[in-house]
């Protein structure tokens, strides 16, 4: 079984061919062909530029990820440092003999530093 056409092939009709050639004649103006070539190249340039624009994020994505990772590390370190500082300040507030609160309470209530510290600790 073949799909080859077996019917009679009509011979070329000169009148028909002449009319077809007139209808389908390609532009004869050379400037049109040059223009077409330029339009094709312009579209290619635009397409290449667009492709490059899309490929930029791939490169920047790696840089961005590195920067984000670095930022997370720095932020983590800063948070830890801040927490340590808060703890130290809280500790110093309690045990530091020169604590401003202790001195103020002692002076205001005519107490010794030890009594003032005790009062701050007990909250009374």
């Amino acid at each position: 079984m073949t799909n080859e056409f077996r019917g009679p092939e009509l011979v070329r009709d000169d009148d028909l061919t002449r009319e077809l050639r007139a209808i389908y004649a390609a532009p004869t103006d050379e400037t049109w062909w040059t223009g077409l070539e330029q339009r094709i190249n312009a579209r290619l340039d635009a397409a290449v530029a667009a492709d490059e624009w899309w490929s930029v994020p791939d490169r920047w994505l790696r840089v961005g990820l590195l920067a984000a990772g670095f930022a997370v590390i720095v932020a983590g370190a800063l948070i830890m440092r801040a927490q340590t500082q808060v703890s130290r300040m809280a500790y110093e507030t309690v045990v530091d003999p020169a604590s401003i609160d202790v001195l103020e309470v002692a002076e205001r209530d005519k107490l010794t530093e030890a009594q003032a510290r005790l009062r701050i600790l007990t909250g009374r």
Partner: protein, 178 residues
């Protein structure tokens, strides 16, 4: 494919834009002829050619240098032209009849016979129109038409037969009226 063309294709595959531009310069006329055989007007043919070269550029890495570049390109052009024809058919179906029935008329094509023939060509299925134009106007052989349009050679022969037969009827009718 000539040695020069092969060198151009290889250079274009390496990303040399000037080499591809040279291929455009070499093949644009034939590409236009293939597109024009399929679509119904000059503007669509130009669109198809532009689309096809863009597609060819992007698909160039898949082209095997042992193939014939022209045949490969013509296939792409034919597909682009058929796409445009399909889109136009859908668009025209949505448009008002007045807009459809106002085709551009070249003064050189104003004879009754030519206009009737043009209408008859437009009424042919796109593939039959392409086959008769590629064969009778552009001088393609049946096998080349088959490769370009992606159809068996026998189908190209039968399409040519039916297209010629239909156009001859139109031609005969116009002649008897005039």
């Amino acid at each position: 494919m000539t040695a020069d063309e092969r060198a151009l294709v290889l250079a274009a595959q390496r990303g040399e834009r000037e080499a591809f531009s040279e291929l455009v310069r070499t093949h644009e006329r034939r590409a236009y002829a293939v597109a024009r055989a399929i679509v119904v007007n000059h503007e669509d043919a130009e669109d198809a050619v532009q689309e096809a070269f863009l597609h060819a550029y992007r698909a160039l890495h898949r082209f095997l240098p042992d193939q014939a570049f022209g045949a490969w390109l013509h296939r792409i052009v034919a597909n682009a032209a058929l796409d445009i024809t399909r889109r136009r058919k859908v668009r025209d179906a949505d448009e008002l009849p007045e807009t459809v029935a106002s085709p551009f008329r070249d003064p050189a094509e104003s004879s009754e016979l030519r206009q009737r023939l043009k209408d008859a060509l437009d009424s042919l299925p796109a593939r039959q129109r392409a086959v008769i134009v590629l064969h009778d106007v552009e001088g393609f052989k049946h096998a080349e038409i088959g490769v370009t349009l992606g159809i068996p050679e026998g189908t190209a022969r039968s399409d040519l037969h039916y297209a010629r037969s239909h156009l001859r009827e139109v031609l005969g009718a116009v002649r008897s009226e005039l």
